[in-house]
Amino acid sequence: MTADPADAGDRGYYVYGIVESEGAAPEAAPGVGAGSGSGSDVFLLEHGSLCALVSEVSLAEFGETELRQNLERPAWLEEKVRVHDEVLAQAARAATVVPLRFGTVYRSLEPIRELLAREQASLSRTLARLRGKREWGVKCLVDRGRLGDWVRRSDDRAAALAAQAAAETGGSAYFVRKRLERHVRERADAEAARLVDRAHERLAAAASDAVRGTGVGPGSDGGVALSGSYLVDTAAEDAFRGALRELAGEYEPLGLRLELSGPWPPYSFAVGEERP
């Protein structure tokens, strides 16, 4: 059968990630192009011991220029990242996956086979490192008002300033109260930073690998003070969750909330070897 020449230039192949050939089962999952009616289901492209998770897409949607334009449409981006994630999440339930970055597209299948051949050794090493492990995300959200209340209750200096403010009258009471507020704010910031560092250390100790995201610092009001990712062996998940529960219980009265997300495909650890 001859391919329609008018069609050939429009077709691209979107790559989600890499799995081992052994035990890899084809997924009947719709690909990133399916929502627009121009793409295929996900299929496995095998080369030697590795398989790429691939689906056909239209270059009218995923070509260089078109992709850049589409990325500026939040609704489009949301739909596509969710599909990308769902494909990898489904694959990760059955096998170890090396996730690729969103938006990797080829014009033909041949360079994907070449990639599998060329990167065989490093991809196999990465797969071995990720085997039997899942990624979990933990965010720490700081309620600075509540943390400040806790500082007022527990800090000696704050108690002394409060007592002094109560004893003084008029203008001097005002200035003592100002000093008290500043002291509480500074103590709360320092405490938030310390508690967040400690939470990350504790969680990292219960994980095989850990990375700290570039979350908003503890200075922001009610902001995220920690955005950590943890690679956890499935056999160690109970211990990891136990550590998280313990921290959550301990931190809750201080106004710090810990939120768990996942399991994620190991997005944050696919390039772990190369990380300094």
Binding site: G17, I18, L67, L77, L100, T104, Y106, G137, W264, S268
Partner: protein
């Protein structure tokens, strides 16, 4: 709790997490089409601005 069964408000947070992971992490290979780092920074900035705007609207009584 799994990230896959959250309330709509939490879904916003998850979307940011998802975009962080999918666009900033993962193995980069040179496809015929790939997204440039500068584009990724811009996308994330826009998305964060958009989502915080949504959140503000929702919180309004």
């Amino acid at each position: 709790m799994s990230a896959r069964d959250l309330s709509p408000a939490d879904q916003n947070v998850t979307l940011v997490e998802l975009v962080d992971r999918l666009l900033e992490r993962g193995v980069v290979i040179s496809g015929d089409v790939t997204i440039a780092v500068a584009d990724i920074d811009l996308i994330e900035l826009r998305l964060r601005a958009l989502l915080s705007a949504v959140e503000t609207t929702e919180r309004r009584p």
